[in-house]
């Protein structure tokens, strides 16, 4: 059951849901690209990097065909600054990349957050640190959820777990980015990007609905005053007030929490996992249930805002929580903060692109919470 603390209100989120075409086999990256088109992305800027290359490739076909902007930039630094420019001028702008490329974008992202610009960044995560490899990883959780660039800022972070959500979440990302005027990530990985799955993903798209905002630097037109997009405030008192405004925005965004629960009602141990890890974890949870062990799954769909409240409530009534990630333990910190000592929180992780088989997870989960 997917729980959303707030109902979707915007047109684009509904647009990607209706009308539902027949299911067909779709690759994750294709779904992500077409999800951006359906979400009304007006501009896409990107630089090639595996394992997300289908995204720019597909958009290089669709965007010009629909009269929108596609541009292969000279680097991720340029890509994110192009996103910054398009967003500053009031256009729905997006980039996609994979871990090393996202690292290069961090200065630009901080400027985007500082200037309060909405935009969407897709990170099809691969192994790190350094050049790492092109295998799946969730090693960029901290970077996406906690900041990554300089200064006090946050991004909306959405984590799909199947191809259908790869298609649907870009629209939600744009909607939330615009609602709160902050950048939004679709945080996914090499498996989800590369896997083929049946999904409802159309190949026809409604015309763009442009919404004018009053703050954009798009050319004055008939406006009586100029608009300036910037993040420079030399006066400490002024910058301090601006930072407080940002933090207040992030607190307001807390009502956008979305998560997915399976077999939770009578669960004694809650497995917490996101994205592809949650797929593996669900297999393990089902197998444990067949053995009579009462495990359940909570899958955060929004990593920021994080479903802390729900986890706190669960922590008070379960025997423990088991966090599984494809990293050395990043989201687990947020789970521990939410549980706040009310129950033990165990962690199991794999790095370097290694995916543990569900049987291994079954053994680990079971052993950690053996009576």
């Amino acid at each position: 059951m997917i729980v959303t603390t707030r109902q979707p209100v915007s047109t684009s989120e509904r647009a990607v849901r209706t009308p539902a075409p027949a299911k067909r086999l779709v690759k994750g990256n294709e779904a992500l690209a077409l999800g951006a088109v359906a979400a009304g992305a007006e501009c896409f800027f990107g630089y090639p990097i595996t394992p997300q290359n289908e995204v720019p490739e597909i958009l290089s076909y669709w965007m010009p065909k629909l009269g929108r902007v596609f541009l292969q930039a000279e680097s991720e630094v340029a890509s994110i600054n192009m996103v910054y420019g398009a967003a500053a001028a009031g256009h729905r702008a997006m980039t996609s990349s994979s871990s090393p490329g996202i690292s290069l974008m961090m200065e630009g992202l901080s400027y985007i957050a500082g200037a309060r610009l909405p935009c969407v960044i897709a990170n099809v995560m691969r192994g790190g640190p350094g050049l790492g490899n092109i295998a799946p990883s969730q090693g960029d959780y901290f970077q996406a959820v906690k900041g990554g660039g300089h200064g006090d800022y946050r991004c909306i972070v959405l984590a799909p777990w199947n191809v259908q959500e790869m298609y649907e979440l870009p629209a939600l990302a744009f909607d939330l980015a615009e609602r709160y005027r902050m950048p939004a990530f679709v945080l996914t990985d090499a498996v989800l990007g590369s896997m083929l799955e049946p999904a409802r993903v159309p190949l026809e798209f409604p015309p763009l609905v442009r919404r004018e905002q009053d703050w954009t630097a798009c050319g004055r037109g008939n406006r009586a005053h100029k608009n300036v997009v910037h993040s420079l405030y030399l006066d400490p008192e002024v910058l301090s007030a601006k930072c407080e405004e940002l933090q207040a925005t992030y607190r307001r965004a807390a009502c956008e929490v979305r998560f997915d629960e399976r077999l939770i009602d009578d669960a004694q141990v809650v497995v917490v996992a996101f994205g592809i890890s949650a797929r593996l974890a669900l297999s393990a949870v089902s197998a444990l249930r067949r053995r009579g062990e009462k495990f359940g799954l909570l899958r955060p769909i929004t990593l920021f805002p994080f479903p802390s409240e729900r986890l706190s409530a669960l922590a008070k009534r379960v025997r423990g929580m088991m966090v599984f990630e494809l990293n050395s333990g990043q989201m687990v910190e947020d789970v521990r903060l939410a549980a706040n000592g009310a129950c033990p929180v165990e962690f199991f992780g794999k790095m370097g692109g290694v995916l543990p088989p569900p049987e291994e997870l079954v053994e680990v989960f079971s052993k950690r919470f053996a009576r």
Binding site: A78, A93, G219, K226, V229
Partner: protein, 279 residues
């Protein structure tokens, strides 16, 4: 030629004095913060004049740099975007492509354009982006306190080359216009020292072409201004001007390097003279 009273920013004087010069309508009345003798102020005014002259106030988006001109947006009346250090060409690319009806220019120093932002500069030019670049080359990092730039002259003393720039250690100055002139995407590239009224008029002529390169959909346009930084050069304003005429132009020869913009047939309103609309 129309009277300047037609587009006065301030109240029209009700006595019989004739107004012979005024601030461009595209500029705000905020006092400039630049040091005495700094050419940033002249270039700001020229930009304002050009936006007025071409009637672009309602569709201009200016992209400001990180450098001494970081607050350029305070001095203009059109919409502006503050870019991160060196990335103005990328920002401008997106703003222009998203709606080609806009007039988009970048205003960049030499550290911004020729050091940290070299890649964005070269690639925007290579793509022939329909943007106009106003390049303020003072051969130094003004804002951060006078450190050496890739554009600093051989032998130039700066706070990070206290013994004078040694090309054997830190290379030779980058000649941006010459370098960009190899790229077919560039429609106009010219360099001008801002050292005399005559040269300021020449700068106006170049700026018109660099703007028309964009408006007439021909390609990328750049004007490089050989500019002063008296404070960080340790020279008086007058000595700084003389230094440009005596030394800087030897390393950076003024002139037109690319011109694929046809000569004006019908000049825009008010553009009949080199001196712009206010004279």
């Amino acid at each position: 030629m129309h009277s300047c009273a037609d587009n006065l920013v301030t109240d029209t004087p009700d006595d019989e004095f004739e107004c012979v010069a005024h601030r461009p309508n595209s500029m705000s009345d905020k006092p400039l913060h630049y040091c005495p003798g700094c050419t940033h102020g002249i270039i700001h005014r020229l930009v304002g004049e050009m936006v007025d002259e071409f009637g672009l106030l309602d569709r201009t988006v200016g992209i400001c740099p990180v450098g001494c001109a970081v607050f350029a947006y305070e001095y203009f009346e059109f919409d502006s975007i503050e870019a991160s250090h060196g990335r103005a060409p990328a920002v401008a690319t997106a703003v222009k492509r998203a709606d080609p009806r806009r007039f988009v220019f970048t205003y960049q120093g030499d550290g911004d354009l020729a050091a940290i932002g070299t890649a964005e500069t070269v690639h925007a030019a290579a793509r022939g982006e329909r943007i106009t670049v106003f390049f303020v080359n003072n051969g130094i990092y003004g804002m951060t306190g006078g450190q050496m730039a890739p554009t600093s002259l051989p032998g130039q003393k700066t706070t990070t080359s206290p013994g004078g720039r040694d090309p054997a250690l830190t290379g030779h100055p980058i000649a941006v216009c010459e370098m960009l002139s190899t790229l077919p995407g560039v429609a106009f590239a010219a360099r001008v020292p801002l050292t005399s009224p005559k040269n300021v008029n020449l700068a106006r002529r170049y700026m018109r072409k660099a703007i028309r390169a964009q408006l007439e959909n021909i390609g990328y346009g750049i004007v490089e201004f050989l500019s002063t930084c008296p404070v960080q050069w340790g020279l008086t304003p007058i000595a700084a001007m003389k230094h440009i005429d005596a030394d800087v132009i030897k390393v950076y020869p003024p002139g037109v390097f690319v011109d694929r913009v046809p000569d004006a047939r019908a000049a825009p309103v008010g553009a009949e003279t080199d001196a712009g609309s206010s004279t």
